[in-house]
Amino acid sequence: MVAIIKYNAGNIMSVEFALQRLGADCIVTDNFDLIKKADKVIFPGVGEASTTMNYIINAGIDSLIKNLSQPVLGICLGLQLMCKRSEEGNVNCLGIFDEEVIRFSNQAKVPHMGWNSLTKMNSPLFKNISLDSYVYFVHSYYACIGNNTIAETDYINPFSSALNKNNFFATQFHPEKSGDVGSTILKNFMEL
């Protein structure tokens, strides 16, 4: 059973549909017991970092996530909230990953929106994914490259398109919207 954490963060349904297409047994829930008992947990997110961070602290979701021991996958804002700190609203985040989240410079259009390629992939999450495969991004802030980086993408500068530390994984792109490549990545996560 995969638990998708339900909270005030955007398009959660598309993650559920993507898992259903893979035949996964999944539930969208804010029930802490169900989340703790799930085999896998997905922490999606679309929105503004400081507002969302305040929401999850008030709801107690912050300590829930940090104490999970099964594989956890953060997506998009989920990745950023799992980092140390975000420049968006200057907020301290969950601190699972050591990386900092900062805004793209205005040298090109922001948000970084559309399909961009994955390089330097180094994780079972990217099994059967070939170099330079395209995935779908929509974001204005990014996690810098650091010790937890398991894939890089270049937009204005190279940034962390995926992170991993222990049982915690996260992608800046939306695997649920990234066609067959994204489905394979979700399938790989399910098989961790």
Binding site: G10, M13, H112, S117, H139
Partner: protein, 250 residues
């Protein structure tokens, strides 16, 4: 590198995909979900579904259709038409839409752009602008090109960007349906004056037009309907052609 996007546009009326020429003479071309899934399989980067009768007949989009699209298609899609207030956008988000597109409603109530962007993020809001070049100016039209406004393309696009639009979908009414190429000059000015992506629409007839729209027009994405619906240009062939002409595509 960030790829240029190819976006088939599916105009939906009464649950069927349709295609008009110059906003009139409508023909039916098939089931929106099946057609979208087929385009996705062929390599489309995104899909746009527009309820073309919505603003005219005040009809709301069917949320069941949006949900079916979200269930069956694994690339991003935008829903436009019939979004007049924030609750309309909220319902579409809940049904699984990745983005919504507003056109006439944004002109009538510019604050709607700010409200939706504020509630659901800039990435969720595409502002569609239909404009016609007349007497030396790009004049914005609403209600599916039926009603002329006092707004001008470039200043209006700038205003909605400041209000929080995540993308601009610009349709040149002069070029739409004519298949003689996109409005590259206007697109280039638009794209360079904005800090958000620009989707070009109207005028695609040949594969060369797509090279032009990305190179001369500086567009971030190109949208077309009939050339895809009537299989005049298959998407895989278009992608190969663009790649061979040094346009970065997925």
């Amino acid at each position: 590198m960030l790829a240029k996007r190819i976006i088939p546009c599916l105009d939906v009326r009464d649950g069927m995909t349709v295609k008009g020429v110059n906003f009139v003479n409508i023909r039916e071309v098939g089931d929106p979900v099946e057609l979208g899934a087929q385009y996705s399989k062929e390599g489309a980067d995104e899909l746009v579904y527009l309820d073309i009768t919505a603003s005219h007949e005040k009809r709301k989009l069917f949320h069941d259709l949006v949900k079916r699209i979200a269930q069956n298609i694994n690339i991003p899609f935008t829903i436009g038409g019939g979004i007049n207030e924030i609750s309309d956008a909220d319902k579409l988000l809940s049904a699984g839409a990745d983005k919504i597109s507003i056109n006439s409603a944004a002109v009538r109530n510019p604050d709607l752009v700010s409200q939706i962007a504020g509630a659901f993020g800039n990435q969720f809001v595409v502002v569609a602008v239909d404009a016609r070049f007349e007497e030396g100016e790009w004049v914005v039209y609403v209600n599916g090109g039926r009603i002329k406004t006092d707004k001008k393309l470039f200043s209006w696009a700038k205003e909605v960007q400041e209000r929080g639009a995540g993308e601009i979908l610009f349709t040149s009414m002069n070029h739409d349906g004519v298949k003689n190429g996109f409005a590259c000059d206007a697109l280039n000015v638009l794209s360079n004056s904005l800090s958000i992506p620009v989707i070009a629409s109207g005028g695609a007839g040949k594969m060369e037009h797509f090279v032009d729209v990305f190179n001369s027009g500086n567009a971030d994405a190109a949208l077309a309907a009939s050339i895809f619906h009537f299989k005049e240009i298959p998407i895989p062939k278009l992608k190969d052609y663009l790649r061979n002409n040094n346009v970065v595509v997925r």
